[in-house]
C-alpha cells in the first residue's frame, strides 16, 4: 500500500487525477473519437470554470472572505460581453478575421473592465464592513447576489439572450473521424494562457509572493510591514475580472444565455474550490479540470448522473483529503 502511494506521489501525486480519470473514461467510452471530443470539451469547460473559481479561491485564502456573490461577476461578464458582441454583429458576420477578433477582444475587455470596477465597488462597499464575520459575510454577499441577478433581469430581461460569435470560431476541426469544436480549443488555449500568466505572477513577482505569503499567514505579512488590506483590493478586483472573463467566454461557448447562468455555475465553482483546496490556483485548476472532464464524460455515459457526479466527486475527495487536493498551506 505504501509502495503504491509512494509511486503515486513520485509520478506527480494528485496532479495525475485528471489523467487517470481520462484513462478510465477511455476504457468506458470505447470509441476513441467520442473520447477525444469529450476530453477537449471537458478541458475547455475546466479552463473556463478555472477562470471563474480562481478569484474566489484566492480571495478566501488571503482574507478569509467567502463571497457568495462571486457568481454575479460571472453573469455580468457574460451579459456585458454578449451585449458588445451583439452590438458588433456586423463585424462578426464579415469574413474578416481581424474584425471578428477585434470584436471579441472588445467584448472580453469590456467584461474585464466591468469586473475590475464591480470588484472594487463590491469590496469597498459590500464586503469591507463585514471582514472577519463569516455569518454576516455569507448573508450580505448572498443579498448582493440576489440584487445583481435582479439587475440583470431588469436590464436584459428573462428571455434567453443569443450570443453571436466570430465566424472564424464557428465550426469544428475535423481530423480523421475526430471533430473538435474550434471554440473549445480557443477557450482551452485562452484559459491556459491566463493560468500560466497567473502562475508566473504568483511565483515570480514580489506582489505574487506577498499574496502567497498572505494566504499562509496574513498577520506575519503585516508584521513584515505590508498592508494586506490594500493588497486584498487588488486581488479581489483581479478575481472579479477573471470571473467576468470566464463568464464572457462561457457566453460564447453556450451561445444562448439566461440570467440564471451565474447561479447555476456557482455550484460548480464552489465544488471546484472546495476540492482544489482554498487559496491555491494550482489546486483550483486541478479541481476545475476534474469537474470539467467528469461532467462531460458522465454527460455522455450517464446523462442523469452529470450534476450529482460533481457532488459525489466532492464528497469522495473530502473524505480522502479534508483540505482539498492542493491546499495553499502546508
Amino acid at each position: 500500500m505504501d509502495a503504491i502511494s509512494n509511486t503515486f506521489e513520485r509520478l506527480g501525486g494528485v496532479n495525475l487525477l485528471p489523467i487517470l480519470l481520462a484513462a478510465v473514461a477511455f476504457v468506458l467510452i470505447g470509441a476513441p473519437s467520442s473520447w477525444v471530443t469529450l476530453t477537449v470539451a471537458g478541458l475547455a469547460m475546466g479552463m473556463m470554470v478555472f477562470l471563474m473559481a480562481s478569484g474566489l479561491s484566492l480571495v478566501f485564502g488571503l482574507m478569509d472572505v467567502l463571497n457568495f456573490g462571486h457568481s454575479a461577476f460571472v453573469s455580468f461578464g457574460a451579459f456585458v460581453a454578449a451585449t458588445v458582441l451583439a452590438g458588433l454583429s456586423g463585424w462578426l458576420a464579415s469574413d474578416s478575421v481581424a474584425l471578428g477578433s477585434l470584436a471579441l477582444i472588445l467584448a472580453f475587455t469590456a467584461a474585464i473592465l466591468f469586473g475590475l470596477v464591480a470588484g472594487w465597488f463590491f469590496e469597498t462597499v459590500i464586503i469591507r464592513p463585514v471582514y472577519r464575520d463569516h455569518l454576516r459575510q455569507i448573508l450580505i454577499t448572498m443579498g448582493a447576489m440576489i440584487v445583481a441577478e435582479q439587475t440583470i433581469l431588469a436590464f436584459w430581461g428573462g428571455t434567453p439572450f443569443s450570443v453571436p460569435r466570430p465566424s472564424f470560431l464557428e465550426g469544428a476541426w475535423i481530423i480523421g473521424d475526430v471533430s473538435i469544436e474550434i471554440y473549445r480549443g480557443f477557450a482551452f488555449v485562452l484559459g491556459l494562457i491566463v493560468f500560466v500568466g497567473l502562475y508566473f505572477v504568483l511565483n515570480r513577482t514580489r506582489i505574487g509572493l506577498l499574496v502567497r505569503a498572505g494566504v499562509e499567514d496574513r498577520e506575519m505579512v503585516e508584521a513584515l510591514g505590508f498592508r494586506i488590506d490594500r493588497l486584498f483590493i487588488g486581488v479581489f478586483m483581479l478575481g472579479s475580472a477573471l470571473a467576468a472573463l470566464g463568464g464572457a467566454m462561457w457566453a460564447g461557448y453556450e451561445t444562448l444565455i439566461t440570467p440564471a447562468l451565474g447561479a447555476e455555475l456557482m455550484i460548480i465553482v464552489f465544488i471546484v474550490v472546495i476540492i482544489g483546496g482554498l487559496g491555491s490556483i494550482e489546486g483550483t485548476l486541478l479541481g476545475a479540470l476534474l469537474v470539467g472532464l467528469m461532467s462531460n464524460y458522465l454527460g455522455f455515459l450517464a446523462p442523469k448522473m452529470a450534476l450529482a457526479s460533481n457532488m459525489i466527486l466532492m464528497v469522495a475527495i473530502l473524505l480522502w483529503r479534508p483540505n482539498g487536493l492542493r491546499p495553499a498551506v502546508k
Binding site: 454576516r136 448572498m142 448582493a144 431588469a154 436590464f155 472546495i274 482554498l278 442523469k304 460533481n310
Partner: protein, 355 residues
C-alpha cells in the same frame, strides 16, 4: 432575567398575530386571505426551525428548503400513490423525516472533517443537486410540473364538519364550518404545536449551551461541550421540523412541485424572514414570516401600480415591476444585515433593555 419593555412589546405583537391567525377564517372571509394565513403558519415553523440553526449556532445552511421539500414530497408521492387518507400523510411525514435525517447526518458527518466555512457551500451544493434530481426523476416526482393529489376527505371543501338543523353546512358568523375550515385549523394547530416545541427547546438547558457555543466556540470547546456533536444534533433537529412543516404544507396545498417546496427562491425567503425578524430570538421568526408573506401577496400589487405610473422613464419602471420585487428585498436585506443585524425583534428587545 429582567424583562424589558421591548421584549414584552415583541411578545405582545406575536400574541396578537397568533390571535389574528386563530380567528383568520372569521376575520378575513376570502380565499386569498386564508391562503396567506395558512402560508404564514407554515413559514413560522419553517423559519423558526431555521432560526434554531442560524440564530442559535451561527451556522448558515442553504439546505433548509431541501428538508422542507423532503417532507412535502414524502406526503405528496404517497397521497398520489395511495389515494386520500391519513395513512399516506403519516407515512409520508415519517418518510420525509427519515430521508431528512439521513441527509442531515451525512452532511453533518462530512462537515466534521472539513472547515466550518465549507458548511454553507456543501449545503448549497447538496440542495441544488436534490433540486435537479427531483426535476429529473419525473416518474416519481412529476418533474417540473409537480404532483397534484387529493387531501384526506375531511379537508374537502364539500365536507360538512358541522350541520345545522336542515342538514346543511353550519354557518357561524357567516363562515361555513366545512372541510376547508378544518384544513386551515389542521395547519394552524400543527404549526402552533411545532412552534411551541421549538420555543420550549431553546428555553431548555440545551438552548443555553447552544447560545454559549454561538458566543464563543473556543471557550465552549474548552469548557467541554462537544461543539460539533451539538451542531450536528441541532442541524438534524431543524431538518426534522422543516420536513414536518413541508408535509403539512403539502396537505394544505394539495399540490407539490419544485416552486412550492424546493426552489432556491424559498430558501431566500427563509433567509430574508429570519434576518428581518431577528436571528436567535424565535419570536422574530413570526414577525419576519408575517411581514414577508404580506409583502409577497400585497406589495407586488403596489409595485405594479408604481411601475405603471412611471411608465416611459428608463429602467425605473423595469426595476419597479412586480417581478423585480426581489431586487428591493435584496437591498433591504443587505441594509438590515449592516445596520440591524439583530432584526426587528432583536433590535426591539435590545431597545427596551436600555431604558
Amino acid at each position: 432575567m429582567e424583562r424589558t419593555t421591548g421584549e414584552i412589546a415583541v411578545k405582545l405583537v406575536v400574541l396578537g398575530i397568533g390571535a389574528l391567525l386563530l380567528f383568520a377564517p372569521f376575520l378575513f372571509q376570502d380565499v386569498r386571505s386564508l391562503e396567506v394565513a395558512a402560508r404564514i403558519c407554515i413559514f413560522v415553523v419553517l423559519v423558526a426551525s431555521y432560526d434554531l440553526l442560524i440564530g442559535y449556532t451561527g451556522i448558515v445552511s442553504f439546505a433548509h428548503t431541501m428538508f422542507f421539500g423532503f417532507g412535502a414530497y414524502g406526503a405528496a408521492i404517497l397521497l398520489k400513490a395511495m389515494g386520500p387518507g391519513w395513512t399516506p400523510v403519516i407515512l409520508g411525514a415519517l418518510a420525509g423525516v427519515a430521508v431528512s435525517l439521513v441527509f442531515a447526518v451525512a452532511i453533518g458527518l462530512l462537515s466534521l472533517r472539513v472547515k466550518a466555512i465549507f458548511f454553507a457551500m456543501i449545503t448549497l451544493a447538496a440542495a441544488s443537486v436534490v433540486l435537479v434530481l427531483v426535476s429529473q426523476l419525473s416518474q416519481l416526482t412529476g418533474g417540473e410540473d409537480g404532483i397534484t393529489y387529493r387531501a384526506p376527505d375531511v379537508f374537502k371543501p364539500a365536507t360538512k364538519i358541522l350541520t345545522d338543523a336542515d342538514g346543511k353546512v353550519l354557518r357561524i358568523f357567516d363562515v361555513r364550518i366545512n372541510g376547508k375550515l378544518a384544513a386551515y385549523y389542521f395547519v394552524f394547530f400543527t404549526s402552533l404545536i411545532m412552534f411551541l416545541m421549538l420555543l420550549r427547546f431553546v428555553g431548555s438547558p440545551l438552548g443555553t449551551v447552544l447560545k454559549a457555543i454561538r458566543e464563543n466556540e473556543g471557550r465552549a470547546e474548552a469548557i467541554g461541550y462537544r461543539v460539533v456533536a451539538y451542531r450536528t444534533f441541532v442541524f438534524c433537529l431543524s431538518a426534522v421540523f422543516a420536513s414536518l412543516a413541508g408535509t403539512v404544507y403539502a396537505v394544505w396545498l394539495k399540490y407539490t412541485g419544485p416552486d412550492t417546496a424546493l426552489s432556491f427562491a424559498i430558501m431566500i425567503d427563509i433567509l430574508l424572514m429570519v434576518v428581518i425578524g431577528g436571528m436567535g430570538t424565535m419570536w422574530g421568526a413570526v414577525i419576519g414570516a408575517v411581514l414577508m408573506i404580506m409583502a409577497q401577496y400585497y406589495l407586488r400589487d403596489l409595485m405594479g401600480a408604481a411601475s405603471e405610473a412611471l411608465h416611459g422613464l428608463p429602467v425605473l419602471p423595469e426595476l419597479l415591476a412586480p417581478d423585480r420585487w426581489l431586487f428591493w428585498l435584496g437591498i433591504i436585506f443587505i441594509l438590515l444585515v449592516y445596520f440591524f443585524p439583530k432584526g426587528i425583534a432583536g433590535t426591539a428587545m435590545a431597545a427596551g433593555a436600555r431604558r
